[in-house]
């Protein structure tokens, strides 16, 4: 995976600085810092309960960390809600599928286009030429995405009726539709077989390559992580124990201990 890239890796795009998050007395994340570089694919790995999803939830504004700050494109994202953070250019998928179950596949993906559609309710109600044009253009984009993800035949099915793997794909589609600068993917390949995983990897790499989208993904499959990521962050008990290129992380003694379950101290 080291051919010449259309979008070479640049400087820090997203900086996580000394984040700490507690739920009541439970520490989910402790003083965690790392940078995500522009155009890279960054993996976050770690045992269950290491605080990986909580970290994404902090970046995307769902959780408000008690300490530390998150800087995106040089701007501090502090105490702002997820919809504003989405506007700034951060989109995501969720670990436990957060699709709009009763809506069709195409409508789910269309919601991802929300930030590209700014007609108000009166324009929509009266179907002004501008509203029609907007709707048509964005549907066009979504149809392209549906084709790209090879889910054309289920485009009108309510997503609640789809099998898990397909739902994961739709969720990726919805995140892609936002055309955000950075995508946070929370276990995009969980519960998939080898074939499906390979396909998903292909989509992720293709998007990264063609659009230059920066990706942050949480993944358990080490094979996948080593294959597609440029850099890896390893979390354990809410703390970072390693941060670097996959080859380096793989040989890190702390990481090996954490995965093999060696007792701390």
């Amino acid at each position: 995976m080291t051919q010449v890239r259309n979008f070479p890796i640049g400087g820090p795009l997203l900086e996580v600085q000394h984040i700490s998050l507690r739920f009541g007395g439970v520490k989910a994340i402790t003083d965690t810092s790392f940078n995500v570089l522009e155009h890279e694919i960054r993996a976050i790995i770690g045992p269950n309960g290491a605080g990986k999803s909580s970290l994404l939830n902090c970046i995307n504004g769902i959780y408000k960390p008690q300490e530390g700050k998150i800087v995106f494109k040089g701007e501090v994202l502090d105490k702002i809600s997820p919809n504003i953070i989405a506007q700034k250019g951060i989109s995501r998928t969720f670990q436990n599928l957060a699709l709009f179950k009763r809506m069709s596949v195409i409508d789910n993906i269309l919601v991802g286009r929300k930030l590209h559609m700014d007609c108000n309710f009166l324009q929509v109600a009266f179907q002004t030429p501008r509203a029609r044009q907007e709707e048509e253009e964005n549907r066009e984009r979504c149809e392209e995405l549906v084709e790209f993800l090879e889910i054309t035949d289920i485009r009108d099915t309510p997503v609640g009726k789809l099998p898990y793997g397909l739902q994961k794909k739709v969720e990726l589609g919805r995140a892609l539709a936002t055309e955000a600068d950075i995508l946070l993917l929370d276990e995009p390949m969980a519960g998939m077989n080898v074939e499906e995983k390979r396909e998903m990897c292909r989509f992720i790499l293709k998007v990264n390559d063609e659009l230059g989208t920066t990706m942050v993904l949480i993944e358990h499959d080490m094979g996948v992580v080593m294959d597609i990521s440029d850099n890896v962050v390893v979390l354990d008990y809410g703390k970072i124990i390693a941060d670097g290129p996959p080859e380096e992380v793989r040989t890190n003694q702390d990481v090996i201990d954490a995965y093999l379950g060696v007792a701390h101290d």
């Binding site: 739920f23 009541g24 999803s53 939830n57 769902i62 969720f94 670990q95 436990n96 957060a98």
Partner: protein, 307 residues
């Protein structure tokens, strides 16, 4: 002897208003108690509790009209309420297991209409008087010696509410059934997997709620007559629950008392400026204000939504 510039009679009157509020509040608490029971056991919000109150007491009065003596009518109605609980569990709750909270709520709204319709279709719609043999006029001793006018019926209602609450709390805390119930409320799947009979527990809970409804209905019926308006009155248990928290028995009590006192004092001291009638909405507005301040209620557990 004025206190803070208030003449004694004013102060006594204020106490009377507060006391009336407290006692009216116990009535709300009783309805709220029925809601809490079912909510604790199944996380289902039973909108039909008010209708159950009406259904139970109307049936009780109906049986008395048919010539059954008081105690027998009471027992027959209890059996009836257990049957209603059983039918509800089998026909409504079980088929909808696993549905969203909103769906369950809508279903119990449907149930409320079924129950209140059934009661009226069977027993008719006229207002009945219910005489429990407890006078609804001021207790002479209190009136003579303290100048406070409190009805004996109100005091009885307060005592009954207190006893019910203590009994239910004890059952919840110390019996095997209560323990199972709390386990079920926590995690129905896990509870079932360790052999707690889910269905029996639900049946028990719905029956208990039915009996609580009957007692509540008798108290209210004696006071305001057995009539359809009971259903609307029971709606006031909703703000009570919001203030107290849906899953807390003490919450239901305290919430009821707060609502009772606030609505009575507002009605007496603020109402006249607006031509009265603010009792009708004041509890709900109070509930909204409360929601903005503490959505989980006074005694409810804070809910952390995990993503």
């Amino acid at each position: 002897m004025p206190i803070w510039g208030w003449p004694m009679t004013e102060i006594l009157f204020f106490f009377e208003v507060v006391l009336a509020g407290l006692l009216a509040g116990t009535m709300y608490s009783l309805v709220a108690l029925g809601f809490v029971l079912i909510y604790k056991a199944s996380a289902t919000f039973n909108f039909a509790q008010g209708a159950m109150v009406f259904f139970a007491v109307l049936s009780f009065v109906g049986f008395m009209e048919l010539g059954l003596p008081f105690v027998l009518a009471f027992l027959v109605t209890i059996l009836l309420m257990i049957a209603v609980g059983y039918a509800t569990e089998r026909l409504v709750i079980e088929p909808l297991t696993g549905q969203s909270e909103d769906t369950m709520l809508m279903a119990t709204i449907g149930l409320a209409f079924v129950l209140q319709g059934l009661a009226q279709a069977v027993w008719g719609v006229e207002v009945r008087r219910l005489d429990l043999g407890i006078p609804d006029f001021p207790i002479p001793w209190l009136a003579d010696n303290l100048g406070i006018f409190v009805s004996a019926l109100d005091v009885t209602a307060g005592v009954v509410a207190g006893v019910l609450i203590i009994v239910l709390s004890l059952l919840f805390r110390f019996t095997k059934m209560g323990l199972g119930l709390r386990a079920v409320a926590d995690d129905p799947g896990a509870a079932a997997s360790i052999g707690i009979p889910l269905k029996n527990i639900m049946l028990l809970v719905w029956s208990t709620a039915g009996i609580v409804a009957l007692v509540t209905g008798m108290m209210w019926g004696a006071r305001a007559g057995v009539q359809f308006a009971l259903v609307d009155l029971a709606l006031k248990a909703l703000p009570v629950l919001i203030i107290g928290g849906f899953s807390s028995i003490p919450g239901a009590i305290v919430g009821g008392l707060i609502i009772g006192v606030v609505e009575k004092t507002l009605e007496v001291y603020v109402g006249p400026y607006f031509g009265g009638g603010i009792e009708g909405w004041a509890p709900y507005v109070l509930a909204i204000l409360f929601l903005l301040w503490r959505p989980e209620g006074l005694f409810g557990e804070k809910i952390i939504r995990r993503v």
